[in-house]
């Protein structure tokens, strides 16, 4: 930490105990039951209350969580975890292997309707999964899955003696008991969630005494609240970051950070659509996205172009795949060669008397999304393609996309630390089975995806994914656009904030558990 020299009032290397951290929730949690979690906002809170079998460290590598150590059988199908014998739930009851088994059963029980986490545990083999003793659990799978180990980070353990009673889906929405470092004090839906550090926490205690999550939906509101000290951290828009992160007055109060995470933006094209189902059309449309101008003028260099399904920081990324060049003239030539011509002279291409009209769904109210959509719209109009932009509520948009009731959309993915393209590009994952809502089906891609998730040799797996990266870039089932760096501001009283390689400020270990609050904010 370079600023340590300038600060004399607070010793940067001696974290202080206590204090209250005011964190922002951009959307209220949908439930505090970790098995039913649907969004990353749920996880932000649950990460304090519950603990996973393993944590992910700053370099996205597995590290000890509830499990102190683990072994993987030679055939790669059986995982044996040795749980910490000290681990207890916040009600004082010790955590046992049976709680892990209970959580796993709940996760795969169709009645639970566990939405997303279940993805990593589809091949769970209940026949070989068992509690070896009180603190040893063996978890078996029907098939080898190369990124399985990191998926255990998503498995937050719930206590059987509490969660087996009552209605599992509805009784644990606003209350929670887990083995994490904090206990739940209260939740006011739509407003706030208060957490308090457990004095009886079974491993190294975090420094901060209480954590208050405030639901602040509006970005502008959050930014004002941060400056007034009513929040301690918030993501900030690129425009605020560019204009304010060098503001001397503000830097006395706030720290600004910028880093790349595992998320990226893209346009999914509905593969069943008669127009955009053709990969040549998709490529032509991709040529009308001026990524360079977007990155330079809108993000001032704080974003980078995507070329395929893996982000530039990922080991699976293929550096040889080129960015689709911005070339509207070539795009028009391609469309013309496919029979799309402006026969009636109205400025819009047509084929068999049908004009080339497309509709793209976007999330309403998001500034950068609307800017991107209108730029794309304006470039397409120049080559005779009419793009209607339909802003929708996030929930409606997701629903329509998952149901295949769309032509195009502008959305983003948050990748797993160990990427597995299976759920979004394998032909078996076409809805309702998975999230292949682009209806992409290429036998060659299927083969690579299957081989990649079975291959335990890292070098070979990397080669497979690089080949897949090139193949998907060729097929353009998505128009991959950009990876925007995350930009955060936090108050200067919060210390010990560090970035991981891909996870950002929290949800890795120790991450937010290493933060502390300087009781006397020093002048800079």
């Amino acid at each position: 930490m370079q600023r340590a020299a300038a600060d004399t009032a607070v010793d940067e290397n001696t974290p202080q105990e206590g204090g209250t951290l005011l964190r922002r929730l951009e959307t209220d949690v949908s439930t505090l039951n970790p098995v039913l979690a649907t969004s990353r906002y749920d996880r932000l809170v649950e990460n304090y209350i519950f603990s996973p079998l393993i944590y992910i460290d700053a370099n996205l590598q597995p590290t000890a969580g509830l499990a102190e150590k683990w072994e993987i059988s030679p055939d790669g199908k059986l995982y044996t975890f040795h749980l910490s014998p000290k681990a207890t739930f916040s009600d004082g009851v010790p955590l046992r292997a049976s709680d892990v088994i209970f959580t796993l059963h709940k996760l795969v029980d169709p009645k639970t309707e566990a939405p997303q986490i279940a993805g990593g545990f589809e091949q769970l083999d209940l026949a070989t999964t068992r509690a070896v003793d009180d603190h040893t659990v063996a978890i078996g799978f029907k098939e080898v899955f190369a990124s399985q180990l990191s998926r255990f980070n998503e498995l937050l353990i719930v206590p059987e003696h509490v969660y087996s009673k009552g209605d599992f889906r509805n009784d644990f929405v606003s209350q929670a008991i887990g083995s994490g470092p904090y206990r739940m004090v209260r939740r006011v839906p739509g407003k706030e969630i208060l957490l308090e550090r457990r004095d009886d926490y079974w491993t190294r205690k975090p420094y901060i005494k209480t954590v208050l999550f405030k639901v602040v939906v509006e970005n502008a509101t959050a930014w004002n609240a941060l400056q007034k000290g009513e929040l301690d951290e918030t993501p900030v828009s690129s425009d605020i970051w560019l204009n304010e992160s060098n503001n001397v007055q503000l830097k006395k109060k706030l720290d600004f950070r910028r880093f790349y995470t595992l998320s990226y933006n893209y346009i999914p094209w509905n593969g069943r659509d008669p127009i955009v189902g053709d990969k040549r059309v998709r490529r032509a449309l991709s040529m009308c996205v001026d990524l360079k101008s977007l990155i330079n003028n809108l993000y001032h260099g704080t974003a980078r172009a995507m070329t395929g399904p893996f982000t530039p920081d990922s080991w699976a990324y293929n550096p040889e795949v080129p960015v689709v060049e911005f070339n509207p003239l070539e795009a028009r030539r391609i469309l013309n060669s496919l029979g799309w011509l402006d026969t009636d002279g109205d400025g819009i291409l047509d084929k068999a008397k049908k004009p080339l009209r497309l509709e793209m769904l976007v999330i309403a109210g998001s500034g950068p999304t609307m800017i991107f959509a209108q730029l794309f719209q304006s470039e397409l109009k120049k080559i005779g393609v009419q793009l209607n932009v339909l802003p929708l509520d996030p929930s409606v948009l997701i629903q329509r996309v998952l149901a295949g009731n769309y032509q195009a959309a502008y959305i983003g993915w948050d990748q797993d630390p160990d990427p597995d393209p299976y759920n979004i590009f394998h032909s078996s994952q076409i809805p309702p089975h998975g999230q292949n809502f682009i209806y992409y089906a290429n036998p060659q891609a299927d083969r690579l995806i299957e081989a990649g998730r079975r291959e335990l040799d890292h070098g070979k797996r990397q080669a497979i994914y690089r080949e897949l990266h090139a193949l998907l870039a060729e097929d353009q089932p998505y128009t991959w656009t950009i990876q925007v760096s995350s930009k955060w501001a936090s108050t200067r009283r919060v210390r010990g904030v560090r970035e991981s390689n891909g996870y950002g400020l929290f949800l890795w270990y120790p991450g937010e558990f290493d933060w502390w609050i300087a009781q006397q904010p020093p002048p800079r």
Binding site: N297, I371, Q377, P391
Partner: protein
């Protein structure tokens, strides 16, 4: 001839207010600009404002007012002045059409209720009460959300939710004048109901309705701005004053010009329509003589 006689003193009284005349001139000017927007603001050096409203130049985004971009540029580098000129078209069209719809629906229902009374009056009156029960903006939001947001949806939604004022005015006037001598004379001479309503009664009940309509235009423009601000207004890239304001929200700290100019346009136009309505109402009242 009879009608000019009726309106001459009204116009004379109206003319006396200099503010009202200024408002009238302002509205006429804005209407002219809106009418000729495609000629005034378009690509090409000959145009008065040499920028098309939807021409994005990302390099020039968020430029403050200058000689080139007289009212600055927005977050996509589009010329604000050009967008406001084209936005005037949208805002005025929506305001006027929505008011026309509410005028037709309101007058018709009000006339039927006032003329026939009895069961029809009861039904119309209850209908008015039901519509009035809903908070106006939420009702409009609900209708717009049901269909996809477009200019047509907006105009219909606004028109179909704001006819109650007109209906009440017309009903009240009809109750008063349907028993007057000229109405009885028309009836005695064997005129059919349709003729009595439209030829004899409605023209005599129309003055107060026009006052309501003038306020109605102001309200419709304001509501359109509010809806566009909430993101359920006209679809992109079409500009309306409200949608320019909406895109200003995220940049409010750095781009005051995106807030001030469209805000001023909305304020002045709404104020002008209100002034006209207000002075027109006063002019209709002979006691102000």
């Amino acid at each position: 001839m009879k009608r000019t006689d009726l309106f001459a003193p009204v116009w004379r009284r109206f003319r006396r207010s200099r503010l009202a005349i200024a408002a009238l001139i302002y509205i006429a000017l804005v209407s002219l600009i809106a009418l000729f927007a495609p000629l005034i603001a378009t690509n090409g050096t000959k145009a008065l404002v040499p920028f098309a409203p939807n021409d994005a130049q990302l390099v020039d985004r968020l430029q403050p007012p200058s000689v080139v971009h007289r009212l600055g540029t927005d977050e996509l580098g589009r010329d604000i002045l050009s967008r406001m000129i084209h936005g005037a078209r949208v805002s005025l069209t929506i305001g006027l059409t929505a008011t026309l719809i509410s005028l037709i629906v309101g007058s018709l229902l009000g006339a039927l209720a006032g003329y026939y009374g009895g069961a029809i009056d009861w039904i119309v009156s209850r209908l008015i009460e039901i519509v009035l029960c809903f908070p106006f903006l939420f009702l409009v939001l609900g209708i717009v959300a049901l269909f996809r947001p477009s200019m047509t949806t907006l105009m219909i939604a606004l028109g179909l939710t704001s006819w109650t004022t007109e209906a009440r005015f017309v009903r009240g006037e009809f109750l008063r004048i349907r028993e007057l001598e000229f109405a009885q004379a028309a009836r005695a001479s064997g005129a059919r109901d349709v003729r009595i309503i439209f030829r004899h009664l409605l023209p005599n009940a129309f003055a107060p309705v026009l006052v309501a309509a003038s306020f109605g235009v102001a309200a419709a423009i304001l509501t359109e701005s509010a809806l566009s601000f909430l993101g359920v207004g006209v679809s992109v890239p079409t500009a309306s004053w409200g949608s320019i304001l909406a895109s200003a929200e995220e940049n409010i700290d750095y781009a005051w010009w995106m807030v001030v100019f469209p805000g001023l346009a909305i304020f002045l136009t709404v104020a002008a329509f209100n002034v006209i309505g207000d002075r027109f109402r006063d002019a209709l009242d002979p006691r102000f003589e």
